[in-house]
């Protein structure tokens, strides 16, 4: 068993269930019978090479796009059948960390974190202040409350976005490529925070990334996506022991394999000697 594996009491019901989902963009199939399950209180990682639809999967789960066929359920409710109001009610129970933070550029750090509170509650300003400072303290940026997003480094922006994502105390926290473009220190901080949020608050966490090392240190369950399907699933250790070529290439960082190094092209010699395109 993985050291990250939660105890039986933690491992609960399925929170997110995707069954036989099909989805395509511009005629290109993104998902071709996708099946995944994320369980309550666990950190579930969706991994895969660039362009395999990891971010699109998050958009399916959050109802930003709808699958052409198949089923996407969150807490047992079909996302595609939800009205706008039901979808907004669902999203109030979710927090999402975007790749670039997606902070509101015309507001400072404090106002960014306070934004969901002001939008959805009528709490007195003193309580809003307490909540915002508490969340900023949790991500180590209480002292940066009055900085603007332009004054933050990439790692700091990601942490502010995380504070904003947890300010409404969500049940599900979704991380879209949380490690992209970060230095090792910031990466370590984000890793620790993801684990901390999961353990301290019991939040179900969904992490989309292609950083194998980082994910292996925090994820309870992993799904490897390729060719519009899940090609392997299990704990990160199980994936690293897999003999499947797709898994071996991805986990080992091999430059050629089922995902070819070369984009499909005509014969090299013929191309060089031929007419210019």
């Amino acid at each position: 068993m993985n050291s990250n594996q939660p105890t039986d009491s933690q491992a609960g019901d399925a929170v997110i269930e995707v069954r036989d989902a099909h989805y395509s963009v511009g005629g290109r199939k993104i998902f071709d019978g996708l099946n995944i399950t994320a369980r309550r209180g666990r950190i579930t990682a969706f991994m895969g090479p660039s362009g395999t639809g990891k971010t699109t999967l998050l958009r399916l789960i959050t109802g930003q796009v709808v699958a052409e066929s198949g089923s996407v359920k969150v807490w047992g409710d079909e996302v595609s059948r939800m009205s706008s109001q039901e979808l907004f009610a669902l999203r109030r129970r979710m927090g999402m960390l975007f790749q670039n933070g997606a902070l509101l550029t015309d507001e400072d750090v404090y106002e960014n974190v306070a934004f969901p509170l002001r939008a959805h509650t009528r709490l007195p300003e003193s309580l809003v202040r307490q909540l915002v400072l508490t969340k900023l303290h949790a991500v180590g940026l209480r002292g940066a409350a009055r900085l603007t997003p332009a004054e933050l480094s990439g790692g700091m922006a990601r942490r502010v976005a995380l504070a904003r994502a947890i300010v409404m105390d969500p049940d599900i926290l979704i991380y879209d490529e949380p490690f992209v473009g970060l230095d090792p220190i910031s990466m370590g901080v984000i890793c620790r925070l993801i684990k901390q949020m999961n353990e301290a608050l019991g939040i179900t966490s969904i992490v989309v990334s292609h950083d194998v090392q980082e994910l292996s240190s925090i994820a309870h369950d992993s799904f490897l996506l390729s060719g519009g399907k899940v090609v392997a699933s299990g704990t990160p250790e199980e994936l690293s022991r897999s003999a499947l070529p797709e898994v071996k290439q991805f986990m080992g960082g091999l430059d050629d394999g089922p995902v070819p190094f070369h984009y499909p092209a005509p014969d090299y010699a013929a191309d060089l000697l031929g007419e210019s395109p």
Partner: protein, 262 residues
């Protein structure tokens, strides 16, 4: 959207593209209108947008109004003195400013200054996923981002047009009275006698309509822009072109409507 429908859209003729665009804009307008009253729940957002669209355009509007008024004073004096009626310069300047030049030129300046700013701001918010982040926080971007900006533009536009007209009239007086020697008493008394409430109303109605058109086009183009640097740039260009054409077209229609009414 399927590849086939995208391809089919790419082959559509220009009239079809424009009809589709007008339809999409009408739907968008209806969606924004439905969110106007809820938007008043956060008056701070609207005040900020009135400042952005109005106060920040004030200098350029005042300067332009002054220069246009000065040209009107020069050309008006030159023309009127041929008929010995240079004392009517005030009437010419006031009616010209209130009924046409004020609303139209202010709207064109508004489209270039505030309209492009609105489009690029919303377009950049879209390309940096700020609008998606709002949706993920269960916040409606149409209500929180678009409606206050639209309202800010609609409220700011008549105020800017009034400022333009007043400064323009002052510019015409500056040239006509101070430089060309028109009698100051005749300038103002004839103006007071000739200009009535209907003329002022025409100017206000025009500037309001232009404010709605320019603000709607600006927020629509920003909201529908492709989330790429090129897409935002194209959307900004479309805002200026569409707003300018629309203002000139609406000006003709409104002028004709007021002439028939009066």
């Amino acid at each position: 959207m399927s590849a086939r429908s995208e391809g089919a859209r790419a082959r559509d003729s220009l009239p079809v593209v424009w009809i589709r665009r007008v339809g999409a804009m009408s739907l968008f307008f209806a969606q924004v209108m439905a969110r106007l009253i809820p938007a008043f729940g956060k008056p701070g957002l609207i005040v900020r947008q009135i400042y952005n669209a109005g106060a920040r355009s004030l200098v350029i509007v005042m300067l332009s109004g002054l220069f246009v008024g000065m040209v009107l004073g020069l050309l008006g004096f030159d023309t009127l003195q041929r008929f010995g009626s240079e004392d009517s310069l005030g009437v010419l300047a006031a009616l010209g400013m209130l009924k046409v030049l004020g609303p139209v030129l202010t709207a064109l300046l508004f489209a270039g200054r505030a309209g492009t700013s609105l489009t690029s701001e919303i377009g950049l918010m879209k390309s940096t996923e700020q609008l998606t982040a709002m949706q993920m926080m269960a916040v409606d971007p149409l209500r929180h981002v678009v409606a206050p900006r639209f309202l800010g533009g609609v409220i700011a536009m008549p105020l800017l047009a009034a400022t333009f007209s007043v400064i323009g009239l002052f510019g015409a007086q500056l040239i006509g009275v101070q430089q060309m020697g028109v009698d100051v008493g005749a300038f103002w008394s004839q103006t007071q006698e000739a200009v009535d409430l209907r003329d002022v109303t025409e100017g206000i109605v025009k500037s309001l309509v232009f404010g709605v058109a320019c603000s709607l086009i600006a927020v629509y183009e920003g909201y529908q822009s492709e989330p790429t640097p090129e897409g935002v740039g194209l959307a900004t260009t479309r805002t200026v072109v569409t707003s300018s054409v629309m203002v000139l077209l609406l000006n003709y229609l409104l002028t004709a409507a007021f002439l028939v009414k009066n």
